[in-house]
Amino acid sequence: MSANVRTSEELKSAARKLFEEGKIDLLIGYERGTLPLRTTPCFITSAEEVDRLVWDGFCSNNLAAYLPHLFSKEGKPKGWQPPKVAIVAKGCDGRSIIGLVKEKQAPRENVIILGVPCRGIVDLKKVLRALDHKEPVSGEAAEDASVIVRLDGGKEIRLGRDEVLFDSCKDCPHPEAPVCDLHVRPEIPEKKAERDFTDVADFEAKSPRERWDYFVREISKCIRCYACRQACPNCYCATCFAEQTQPKWIGVGTDLSEVMIYHLGRIFHQAGRCVDCGACVRACPMSIDLRVFTRKMVKDVKELFGYEAGISVEEPPPLCTFKTDDDQSFITEP
């Protein structure tokens, strides 16, 4: 039995137990998608349904994105009590959940984090590219996170781990949720010691002209569908600044300056909160290289304030606190 199947089985029995003991009203996890190589988020409300649950290398969605809405009082009847929710969490999901708890978007006592060991998530776009855009008829993620796909006609192809993994998974230092109520793990996955920010450093080393041209080239692809915002667990503002009318920061069109302000603003809002889960990159229908930009924020927050998002509930967010000796070399002196 492969590790993924074992984790899925353990997950099912843990979920069944939680429902039978009446500890939860809802479980958010993944179930098999309607197409091969895909899973879809599922909402389970009773012990009879837990057999739908799966866990493998295709569970790409960051499930934490559902929490703010679940716990928001808006539109709920009087006397409404927040539900007890268990949530299946990879490392990045777990960190996002901690971020939301810190920002009072989810009460910690109402959330049960079911930590699953993540070996990295498979990027379907990369798989399809490797297959020359032929849809496979079936396939699975193997033990070592490589992918086996079968094409129409019975041809079987094995794609290596590095070929198909999401970029954000390749140097992930947190394959497991740092804060966890229940570990569902047959074994502990290997992890990298530190995020590797050489891509950001390389970009910084380019000339301002080159950086600007790249930024323009990527951002001009944007169609303002807001998929990046919807997929992001940190983007839960009741009214996003991009849609605010009082004051009206930007218009609704795809004028380049407005699209730029949208992305500059949205990514800046992630400062000290982004866990580099890659949900925005995955969600983007135009394949904008958002990662080189979002990661700049992660890197700067780490370098300037020594902070990593979603590691502990107690540590205050970096922009809500300060040190008297923070770096101020950027200040203009006469």
Partner: protein, 159 residues
Amino acid sequence: MTNMETAEKEKTAEKQDSTQVSDWQPRIVAFLCNWCSYAGADLAGVSRIQYPTNVRVIRVPCSGRVNPLFILSALRQGVDGVLVSGCHPGDCHYISGNFVARRKFALLKNWLEYVGIEPERVQFSWVSAAEGGRFAQILQKVIEGVRRVGPIQKLNKLI
């Protein structure tokens, strides 16, 4: 209209454009905190210290009040440079407003530079209520910097 006439017309238009460029004066928006920098600017005025008139001052309660979107919006609307100025660290009227702002500004400054926007466009400084001369000097420096990089061509909305 003949081709020649069109060419002539284009030429004069070009001439006008080039004169416009040489006449160009930077427009700077300065967000000044009510308790220190605004009073510093006031002192510069009262003391009759000369400084360029390219600046439009917006008074804010504290440098911590300055939302990064203020700065982005100003640039989008065609301002050539933005200066944000507050009390010296430790002198904030609200005790820690400028400390928190400092972290935010450090990130914003890096962020805008990262995407290729000239660092001269957005600047931050500390000016106390007693530093009228210093305020004029800083403003000079900011305007010089913006003059060097020219009119804003990135981020602004073309109409």
